[in-house]
Amino acid sequence: MRRIPRDDAPQVRMEFEGQALLAYTGDTVAAALLAGNHWNFRTTPVSGAIRGPFCMMGVCFDCLVEIDGVANRQACMIEVREGMRVKRQLGASDIGADLFTDGEQETPP
């Protein structure tokens, strides 16, 4: 995506998938990712299909990403902040996933 000329905006340094991402104050996380040419935001919990943002206004729930460790956040509804760490949302939310041992011996953290 291309930025159209506008007043200078303070830069915001953040991360996407461990890589540095440059954004600007007032960007939503979705805008920042798109600006960085990242259109693949998540894989669905139903089939693992790849999804990206669709409506940009909070009604489609396709732009879900993990932000600072919290799963399934609507990227188009959240503004960027300095130091934010964003990751793709892979499948279902993983809260409690470390509890499910599936018969294996669980090692303490």
């Binding site: 995506m1 930025r3 506008r6 007032g26 805008a31 089939s47 489609c60 729930f61």
Partner: protein
């Protein structure tokens, strides 16, 4: 936020801003709640902090929204941003969530101004990454000064041409415009032309947009009858058919649009009656002359009640506020009527062109009712059209049974992107009117809410710690 207000307005678009401003100017305790960080809704998104160098890009209509924002600020209305309303009960108990904390508050009068969303566009491949809506493209332009070069625009409706126009003014190349406006619509719209001619300004504006798109040399393919979006993990191309010939365009970005429809979820969950509008192919709230619904004390103003556009939304917002003020005994009926009169005049003028627009840009059945078995109807639960058809064949008479049998509507969007499609599909398969089929029964929470928030919710208003 306090525990109780005279008037609570939900949504800070033109209707909500106007309503809250009027209420505050009349000295009542009013609260305006909105999810976005600044006022403006979608149509005037970020107008109060717009920084694009070239004001011609977004155009003068957009910048007019600043007056509403200034008036709101000057009125002293309490405006809480970043607030998600997840519940509205018929007794006007409102559930709000802000910064991860949910709380309840109550109001004597509620004005819902939740605006519109885009109509679903269920074509094969519409869930691929790289597919977005034209409205989404416009949000990116308004809120982040971002535009995608060489994208394809596909669909029908004023917003599609407006955004394409804004791209042209911004110097952003457009790969092609695939216009799905059905050929037959011209004839359908003809009877409404005389009334529309009274809104010459709006008609000329539309023609100017088209002329500028042509002048920019963008391939403009009209009367597209079928669309397929191609790709495995992401969009790689689009196939379109016109006059029995299929052609293909390579592209990784497409912006779809086929009109806007009211955002009805909160109103329906509050129990407000809606009726099916065949003219606009969506649900309209049943409201009286003061925008009040059949639930006492709950009014719906703006595109959330039925699509009439931004200026009409402003007028209706004020009318709703005058009505609410009278019900709060802050205005007597005569004063109320007198104040509302000029708003009603403007509202009538704004509505004149609407039947023409509705007819001219009425999306075709093929784009509302997927014919391909594999086309995804419910994006959240990935339910294909075949499953919907199969469930109706098994005896599902309406969307709620269909939800139980197919999972359509069970995802986080709560039917926002599949509700209209399934109601129309069921109606067609059963051979009955959509009004008979009905809509999904919606209940709070109308937006997802964390269990931690619900668990911590103090349900007795007296025990809510004071928060501002």
């Amino acid at each position: 936020m306090k525990d109780h207000y005279d008037i609570v307005v939900v949504g800070a678009g033109p209707a909500g801003m106007a309503a809250a401003t009027v209420a505050a100017e009349h000295g009542v305790g009013v609260l305006l709640l909105d999810e976005q960080p600044v006022a403006g809704g979608q149509i005037y998104r970020d107008v109060g902090r717009q920084t694009l160098d070239d004001r011609n890009i977004l155009g003068p209509d957009y910048y007019e929204g600043r007056e509403l924002v200034s008036a709101l600020q000057a009125s002293g209305a309490e405006h809480v941003t970043g607030a998600t309303v997840w519940q509205l009960s018929p007794q006007r108990e409102i559930g709000v969530s802000k910064d991860g904390i949910a709380r309840l508050l109550s109001a004597d009068q509620v004005i819902l101004a939740t605006g519109a969303q885009e109509r679903p566009f269920p074509v094969p491949g519409w869930t691929l990454a790289g597919v977005m809506t034209a409205g989404g493209a416009q949000v990116l332009l308004k809120s982040a000064a971002l535009a995608e070069p060489d994208a394809v625009f596909a669909g029908t409706g004023p917003l599609l041409y407006l955004v394409a126009n804004q791209y042209v003014k911004a110097g952003i190349p457009i790969r092609a415009i695939l216009d799905t406006t059905p050929r037959a619509n011209r004839l359908r719209a003809l009877p409404h032309l005389p009334a529309a001619l009274m809104s010459m300004g709006a008609l000329l504006k539309g023609r100017r947009w088209m002329a500028e798109l042509r002048a920019a040399g963008i391939p403009f393919i009209k009367h597209v009858e079928d669309l397929k979006l191609l790709g495995t993990d992401a969009l790689s191309g689009v196939e379109y058919r016109r006059r029995d010939r299929w052609r293909r365009l390579d592209t990784t970005r497409i912006f779809l649009h086929q009109g806007i429809v009211p955002n009805v979820n909160l109103a329906m969950a509050a129990g407000c009656a809606h009726r099916w509008s065949d003219a606009q192919l969506c649900w309209h709230a049943v409201t009286d002359a003061w925008a009040e619904t059949d639930v006492p004390g709950i009014a719906i103003a703006g595109d959330g009640a039925g699509i009439d556009g931004a200026i009409a939304a402003e007028c209706l917002g004020r009318i709703a506020a005058y009505g609410a003020l009278q019900r709060c005994a802050r205005l007597d009926a005569r004063e109320r009527d007198r104040l509302a009169a000029p708003q009603r005049r403007t509202l009538s003028e704004e509505r004149r062109i609407r039947p023409f627009l509705d007819a001219m840009f009425r999306p075709s059945r093929r784009f509302r009712l997927p014919e391909d078995d594999a086309t995804i109807v419910c994006r959240c639960e990935e339910v294909p059209a075949a499953r919907v058809v199969e469930s109706v064949a098994l005896g599902c008479v309406g969307p709620n049974q269909l939800k139980a049998f197919s999972r359509c509507g069970m995802g986080p969007c709560q039917g926002r992107l599949c509700g209209l499609t399934i109601s129309e599909m069921i109606a067609r398969q059963r051979g009955v009117p959509v009004a008979e089929v009905g809509a999904l029964r919606l209940r709070p929470p109308v937006k997802p809410l964390m269990l931690a928030e619900l668990a911590a919710l103090a349900t007795a208003p007296e025990s809510i710690p004071g928060r501002d």
